[in-house]
Symmetry: D3
Subunit: 67 residues, 6 copies
């Protein structure tokens, strides 16, 4: 039954459809193994964030990547 | 004053503009009736999620819809 | 399948257990009626927020209630 | 180390890239000054919301702007 | 750099401190392996939700557990 | 009209009530100045997270603080 939200920047065509499928499957299995909760109702939502919109240490990832 | 966030997959052109207007109006009214809180400052935000990015039971909705 | 998150201040013992049950049932039904999505996998999570931690117009609800 | 999420409607080309850079820098600095936490690991994520998808007082911002 | 939020009900003393440590380590490693992103700045936040506040299919987990 | 969510660990009695009031006021003013949006309907919600539940680089803040 857990709910998991993953926010990751969209860069160079990634995450791909395959990577997202792996994330959904892998995180669902891992959380289920650790907590022993129901896998069937586990929800995973992936948000792909523009590098202009994700900041770390006061700078956007777009700015950080320029260096 | 409550804040409500609705995450729903985007499928076959839905939710439409009209459905979103109904969601905003309906959820605001319902929450206000149950809790008796201020309707004017109630915020509703709808996130439309790609079916590749919404997982249920370890599979994306894209995969689930294929079956 | 939608996911709904409701954030509401905790004030004078509210929302009560009954109000929360009504919120879960009511919002699930409403969203299902408007969007025609699967009710069984609809998730509703309610976060009860301390009035010191919820701000509106630059003041906490604790400060607003004092006036 | 704090994590900050800002949700704002996308209107008339705003927030611009420059405004987002200012938001990330400004909010990171402000939160760091008030709380004295580590700036390097502070995360800011900005979500730009369509005016059809942001509701206030039971109406979408699209509807509110029409008046 | 990804950000991951896990929402899970608090039931019978679980998740324990050990389970939460395993979740943080496991999810960080898994996401890093799949996406090849920086592990050092990966953030995981776990929210423990009261069973009265987590709804599935229109009923709280408290009600579902009674059956 | 923006909505801002701040997640910060609860450590040594901080954030205090005063720090939270400063966060709400400061972030509301800053976002309003940068974006020119309506201050009256700006919402700020602060989530205080247990150090066991906030992970950075694969370890909880509780573990990181031990070193």
């Amino acid at each position: 039954m857990p709910y998991i939200n993953i926010k990751v920047t969209k860069e160079n065509g990634e995450p791909t459809k395959d990577q997202k499928e792996l994330l959904i499957k892998g995180v669902t299995n891992l959380v289920s193994e650790i907590l022993g909760r129901n896998k069937a109702s586990t929800v995973v939502i992936i948000d792909e964030i523009d590098t202009d919109n994700y900041g770390l240490g006061g700078k956007s990832i777009s700015e950080i990547r320029k260096v």
